[in-house]
Amino acid sequence: MSDLRFTKEHEWVRVEGSTATVGISEYAQEQLGDVVFVELPSVGADVEAGGDAAVVESVKAASEVYAPVSGKITDVNGDLEASPGLVNESAEGDGWFWKMELSDPDELGELMTPDEYKTFLEELD
């Protein structure tokens, strides 16, 4: 998973070419607890880095998921509709949220590497 990049809001991005896959981190799913619903963005929608893109609902509460980078949504993970628990089971794998076309690849430089994110989490505790 060393190809992931993380935000301070606990989203992750994996880039292949000009396409990015986005989800929430293992740490985020642990903090949320049992996920019962995910509201995904519409395919074709433009999102901006740091802007609202999805909502994840646990038994406890609803939380916003922000777009880590700017671009256009090209695909969403339809499996989350019937099985929102995938986010808990595989936050950084099968529990991905959406795919997007990057509009400004330079924004990736703002994100944390897995090691930097790990250090960031340690400082949170």
């Binding site: 607890g33 049992d34 019962v36 619903f37 509201e39 909502v55 609902e57 646990s58 038994v59 406890k60 509460a61 609803a62 509709e81 929102p84």
Partner: protein, 352 residues
Amino acid sequence: MHAEIGAKFVPFAGYDMPVQYPLGILKEHQHTRAQAGLFDVSHMGQVRLLGPDADSLLEQVLPGDISCLEPGHLRYTMFTNDRAGVVDDLMVTRRDDDLFLVVNAGCKDNDVRLLRGALGESRVDYVQDRALLALQGPAAASALERHVPGVSSLQFMTATSISIGGADVWISRSGYTGEDGFEMSVPNPAAEEVARLLLAEPEVEAVGLGARDSLRLEAGLCLYGNDLTQETTPVEAGLTWTISRRRRDAGGFPGDDVIRKQIAEGPTRRRVGIKPEGRAPARAHTPVYVGDKHVGEITSGGFGPTVGGPVAMGYIDREFAKAGTALELEIRGKRHAAAVEKLPFTPHRYAK
């Protein structure tokens, strides 16, 4: 001890509250419905009212029938204001030497002031040295029976004094989950020991306040501050059953005129169950529409693990409050279909 068994805490009403344990809210909820859950609800207020006329004095500040309450029985009721708004909801037990009240954490200081005003300073004992534990679920009675032989025969909504592990415990057959179960007032020094004894039973798991909320929501029970406030009346809340004929006719409590009028004419809005279609949970304050008409608001909502989908309750204008009425919920700017549903979502399974 909570931290030792892995609780996650959040601050509430000045307390650090155990919201969930390692099982997680979903499994804690399911375990309580399947077997038994132990809840620490020591943040709630415990109050003793003393004196032979405590019952009639208490009736001056609430519409419940306390004078007719039999010894060893408890009753659900609520303090009201002059507009019949609910100031707090509570349980009242008649014991041999006092009336024993359990009130909400967020309201307890205000309740004690109100009670001292009605009964006089010296007749109100604000109990600070006892914890409150709830053991809830279909296996609660069999698990507790091993420590308190005979406790299974305690009737629903009655209470008595028992001993657990040498501690003097006041116990009632009651709860806030819709399941059979018990609530126990335990002296602080013995609370941890009693909790450990119960958690050692194979059926019993520690359950936090997260699951307590989803359990009570499925059971259609009100949360003060959400479903009951100073702006909602017992009649609107569907709690008219807590007000006896004698008290309706004679009045003599804050807001009696409003309550009498609402009973006679029907309230303009009612608390109802609301079942969202689809999977999106509708949280408190979600606006409710029928077409373009704003017809009410959700006051409690979330995911119901036993129902297996979202559940909610809220106040709806009376012409739209009938079970089966199609509603629309506005969640994050989008309309979602829902319908009025009869409460509770999960049938009560009290010991009868």
